[in-house]
């Protein structure tokens, strides 16, 4: 039974104060908060298991290795990957994207095409521009409409025999729009293109099944899912991961080294050079356990309730405009007050203890589309409450009064 009062007790940070007011944390799309259960795992790791993994014959190293590899199995099960070696530990979503982009350098030639969406985060645009510069491939963009939804018809006309890779986020970080990735994947596969999906914003809200989606690559970050920063995973289909060359050279990723030739380790180690974020990987596993114990169905239902409540309340404020009005969206509200800079609204809200994000959310092309310098973005998690939303709404009203 989902009870938000009980859940909040798991998050020590939610009881702290900011500027003399109780913290209202609505910047969950940037990073989620960490429950005690995950904090305990981190403390326990450094108190009892800290060692370097995979090579040690001693007990500590063995135990740490076991914990790290068990976490990989948990992550595999969560995303329903066919094999554990299809789960590559990374430092986060950006690392995963760069790993794939770098790998495709070896597979693309002049005239090939890569398609990205207009709803992307900067980190999702730059690696592909770099890849195009290296290979002579061309970058195509799926346009979006006034509701902040991708134009799927336009996407279909972009596809052709030269399309080698399609890259799209599952959910937009700036607007919260849920993209129809199952359809995008199906259409891309019809022309033989691979699909990489950025799951950074979706993984905290829904439980994707990578086999059912038939997605080729899927990337996530632990810190958006109640885990620590600096760790994430890349899921890749075994065939694809075997085709891509290694990303970084170093320890862990080799089978045999002589000065003449190095043979690479098998998956997943081929992509895991150097000492990884061992504690982070283990804590990521614990975070996934925690979220599954709460239950993704319950999380989605409750967050949707928060989204509807906040949307209705905020729209009662005259002159407030919400950007991203798709019917298919997660608990993210990007908005502006007419004639008022988002930075000013965010500053006043901060004084009231309310943490929101202001600015372009690393998605400048989206802001250019709406011809605005940025937005105020409130993003809700399953540990937020309606009374916190009331504090936000009162704060926005106060900001409007002070700034108009």
């Amino acid at each position: 039974m989902f009870k938000v009062e009980n859940i909040r007790k798991d998050f020590p940070i939610l009881s702290r104060q900011v500027n003399g007011k109780p913290l209202v944390y609505f910047d969950n799309a940037a990073t989620s908060q960490t429950p005690q259960q995950v904090i305990d795992v981190i403390v326990n790791y450094y108190s009892n298991y800290n060692a370097n993994i995979h090579r040690g014959v001693h007990a500590l190293s063995q135990e740490a290795t076991d914990l790290y590899e068990q976490a990989r199995y948990k992550i595999q099960a969560h995303f329903n990957a066919k094999h554990a070696h299809e789960i590559i530990y990374t430092s986060g979503t950006t690392h995963g994207i760069n790993l794939v982009a770098n790998g495709f350098s070896a597979l693309l030639k002049k005239g090939d095409e890569i398609i990205v969406s207009a709803l992307e985060h900067h980190s999702n645009i730059v690696p592909w521009q770099m890849l195009c510069e290296r290979t002579g491939a061309n970058l195509k963009v799926i346009p979006m409409n006034q509701n902040g939804e991708l134009e799927i018809k336009a996407f279909e006309t972009l596809l052709n025999q030269n399309t080698k890779l399609v890259f799209v986020n599952h959910i937009s970080n700036a607007l919260g729009t849920i993209n129809p990735i199952d359809h995008i994947i199906k259409k891309a596969h019809e022309v033989g293109a691979a699909v990489l999906v950025d799951g950074a914003q979706s993984s905290p809200h829904i439980k994707p099944d990578v086999q059912a989606l038939d997605v080729d690559f899927y990337v996530v970050s632990a810190h958006k899912m109640c885990g620590p920063t600096g760790v994430g995973v890349l899921y890749g289909k075994e065939d694809w991961l075997n085709k891509l060359p290694p990303y970084q050279g170093g320890g862990e990723m080799i089978a045999e080294v002589t000065f003449e030739k190095t043979t690479y380790a098998a998956l997943p180690h081929k992509f895991e050079a150097g000492t990884p974020n061992i504690c982070g990987g283990i804590a990521f596993g614990a975070a996934i356990d925690y979220m599954n114990a709460v239950g993704f169905d319950a999380i989605a239902a409750y967050e949707h309730e928060l989204l509807e409540y906040a949307t209705n309340k905020l729209l009662e404020i005259e002159g407030l405009k919400i950007y991203g009005t798709s019917r298919h969206k997660t608990s993210v509200i990007s908005f502006n007050l007419e004639g008022i800079h988002p930075y000013d609204v965010g500053t006043i809200l901060d004084k009231l203890g309310v943490a929101v994000r202001t600015g372009h959310h690393c998605a400048q092309p989206i802001m250019d589309y709406f011809k605005i310098p940025g937005t105020v973005r409130a993003s809700f998690a399953f540990y937020n409450t309606k009374s916190e939303i009331d504090i936000l709404v009162e704060g926005v009203k106060k900001a409007k009064m002070m700034l108009s």
Partner: protein, 140 residues
């Protein structure tokens, strides 16, 4: 008035406010009153890029004193600029270069001075001082 005298005057004014709300309301009002920069100077060259709000600054030297005009697209940022301009405008370049900015701490706006804060206040002070250094070189 010297830079220090102006700073003390501002500290006095801010000491009358009882809470953050009054301080911020005052800054917002200052921002609204700030004489806008002449449009011809509102160019990309004169932009100090903070992460979130745009700030334009223009400097001129008249009678061996530096005059600043400025604007921003965010009103609180504009209020902060208004305070900086009141302190630094119409002063000798040497005095601007040597002035310290502790008064910002004393009027309860310390949080805006953190180098990691995204409003570019630190770059703003630096930019005003850079202009002063440039004009000082001309005088030497």
């Amino acid at each position: 008035m010297t830079i220090e005298e102006i700073q003390n005057e501002i500290i006095d004014e801010f000491s009358m406010f009882e809470d953050w709300e009054e301080r911020y309301q005052y800054m917002i009002d200052l921002g609204k009153d700030l004489p806008l920069i002449d449009d011809q100077y509102k160019t990309d060259n004169n932009i100090i890029k903070g992460c979130q709000s745009k700030v334009w600054v223009h400097a001129e030297m008249n009678d061996n004193k530096v005059d600043f005009t400025a604007d921003s697209d965010a009103i609180i940022t504009k209020g902060i600029i208004a305070i900086l301009i009141r302190v630094f405008s119409n002063q000798h370049p040497k005095d601007i270069i040597e002035a310290n900015t502790d008064f910002i701490d004393k009027i309860g706006l310390k949080e805006h001075l953190s180098p990691t804060r995204a409003n570019g206040l630190v770059s703003m002070v630096k930019q005003l001082k850079m202009y002063a250094i440039a004009y000082q070189t001309q005088l030497n």
